[in-house]
């Protein structure tokens, strides 16, 4: 089954005095791992929240499709998962209790849940920490728990907002191993990041600057087309050119 593609056209969103999205156009091909790249304040979080239906755009449209056929947002909403930058987990609830809670929230059948739970604890290597309260997890483990909760329902679309920010280099690599395992199936993943090495590991990158699309495509192709060695260089060039 083909993954769900997302097309964004002329998206505008003003938050207070700030034009967070200023006519954003992007195309997220179904079933791929997409990197959403941009400096602070570029509009990454606003875009993800708009894709998720948490914000209503002032103008423009978000269209979902599968194999060319348009999909209704309401029909796929249950299959979408979003991991915000600051995940609100329950500090006094353990890892296991979080998973039970999300099982109930998603209404998962017990058999499906048991398998899924075992699989997720295995790949996140959190089996030994099932009893530990979320408030006592390290930064990297906390992010993994957030991801597990998002993945319990086997989403078709997974949106992750800077999941590795403030995470050590090893945990960062582990998190990406995890994303690689998830990708490759039919799930469409969009992950925002400020780390340029992570950007390079995505199947497609989408560069966002001041609410507008700067470039998008396969990482090597984007670098070649823009004539730069790294995405950092591309943003730096933009910064220097800015008035």
């Amino acid at each position: 089954m083909a993954g769900i593609g997302i097309d964004v056209a002329g998206l505008k969103k003003k938050l207070g005095p700030n034009q967070a999205l200023d006519g954003t156009d992007f195309s997220f091909e179904g079933g791929l791992l997409h990197g959403l790249i941009g400096p602070d304040g570029a509009g990454k979080t606003t875009l993800l929240r708009t894709l998720m239906g948490l914000l209503k755009p002032d103008a423009g449209a978000v269209r979902f499709s599968r194999g060319g056929a348009a999909l209704d947002f309401k029909a796929i909403r249950d299959g979408m998962a979003y991991m915000p930058q600051r995940q609100s987990l329950y500090a006094d609830q353990s890892v296991g209790e979080h998973m039970d809670f999300f099982r109930d929230l998603y209404g998962l059948p017990e058999a499906v849940y048991e398998d899924r739970r075992r699989e997720l604890l295995g790949i996140t290597r959190l089996e030994k920490f099932v009893e530990r309260p979320a408030g006592q997890l390290s930064g990297g483990m906390y992010k993994k728990l957030g991801l597990m909760c998002a993945l319990l329902q086997s989403p078709n679309v997974l949106l992750l907002d800077e999941p590795t920010n403030g995470v050590d280099p090893i945990s960062r690599r582990e998190f990406w191993e995890l994303l690689y395992r998830l990708a490759g199936g039919s799930v469409t993943i969009v992950v925002s990041t400020a780390y340029m090495d992570e950007a390079e590991r995505c199947a497609r990158v989408h560069l966002l600057d001041r609410g507008r699309a700067l470039a998008e495509g396969e990482p090597r192709a984007v670098l070649r087309k823009e004539g730069v060695a790294s995405f950092d260089e591309l943003f730096l060039r933009r910064e220097e050119a800015a008035p």
């Binding site: 930058q85 997890l137 390290s138 930064g139 990297g140 403030g166 050590d168 280099p169 090495d197 390079e200």
Partner: protein
């Protein structure tokens, strides 16, 4: 133990029930040093800092801060140290002024001292915004700088900064580190944790923790030398490279370890002749060049602790 050190830990151990968070850790930090405290999440960094700030008693071992034993003189220790914690620093719904006044009240600081210290600190951090502004409305990096000012209000000799720049934009991070250097230049000791290796690079020395143990302690240059006695290569593959080239790279006997850096891979070579042979077999579309290790390389190698 002598009193000439800013921070001394000797066989420091902290247990929570069955779990040993800090395991027999010893180190010394001279006054005025920027001391980087690195490790994976959960390695025991924050627990160590809490002991050194007098917030937690060690299960065994000793720690002295500014010459004071943390186990015997908690009140005095708290005068000597400033602590910018990872989770909480400022009240968002109080103004800049109110946050400072609150911190001063906790320290029972007289009003004229508060005014004088605030002026001094604002000059150091270059803070020139209205002080009746809510902290919530401060732009990104200013919050961190103000947090540091609050942590230093009582004039401590040593400041402990626990991931002060987590989630901060690159430009603000650079400004914060310029501030750290200015503070250290005045003779204060800065004890700082970070996950950003470009920041670690700016430390005088770095202590590296893994699962509660101190596994390395040296200058950035020294760590690179000792962690990478053998040459390190950066590899990049063109479109027609063998599909399994990274597998072959990782499993080749001439390769010590290999890990991804974006589109590229870094590989340590055990023997150069063998490595050249591997490159020939992989073909011309896998390009390689010798590079100097970064601290990220050091971190990945030492913390992952592959047997060599």
């Amino acid at each position: 133990m002598s009193g000439a050190w800013a921070v001394e830990a000797e066989g420091l151990t902290v247990r929570f029930g069955e779990f040993t968070a800090v395991d027999d850790v010893s180190f010394r930090v001279p006054p005025g040093e920027i001391f980087g405290f690195l490790g994976a999440n959960g390695a025991g960094k924050t627990t160590t800092i809490r002991v050194l700030c007098g917030l937690l008693l060690p299960s065994s071992g000793r720690a002295r801060v500014a010459g004071l034993d943390v186990a015997s003189g908690l009140r005095e220790v708290k005068h000597k140290v400033g602590y910018m914690s990872q989770r909480f620093t400022l009240y968002d719904d109080l103004t800049v002024e109110e946050n400072l006044a609150f911190a001063a009240a906790l320290r029972k600081m007289p009003a004229e001292d508060l005014a004088r210290r605030t002026k001094e600190l604002f000059e150091v951090i270059g803070f020139d915004r209205p002080t009746d502004q809510l902290v919530r409305d401060l732009p990104g990096g200013f919050k961190q700088e103000l947090s540091l000012a609050v942590a230093m209000l009582h004039g401590p000799e040593i400041v402990f900064l626990d991931e002060p720049t987590a989630g901060v934009a690159p430009g603000s991070r650079a400004r914060f580190w310029a501030l750290i250097r200015r503070i250290a230049a005045t003779g204060k000791t800065v004890f700082v944790t970070t996950h950003y290796m470009d920041e670690a690079e700016q430390c005088g020395r770095i202590a590296l923790m893994r699962t509660g143990k101190l596994i390395a302690l040296d200058s950035p240059a020294g760590l690179k030398r000792s962690a990478f006695p053998e040459p390190l290569y950066e590899l990049q593959a063109g479109a027609d490279a063998p599909a399994d080239w990274t597998q072959r790279l990782k499993s080749d006997p001439s390769v010590i370890d290999a890990s991804p850096y974006g589109l590229r891979w870094h590989a340590g070579a055990r023997d150069e002749a063998g490595f050249r042979g591997l490159l020939e077999r992989l073909g011309p579309s896998v390009r390689s060049r010798r590079i100097q290790p970064t601290l990220e390389d050091v971190f990945v190698r030492l913390v992952e602790g592959k047997d060599r």
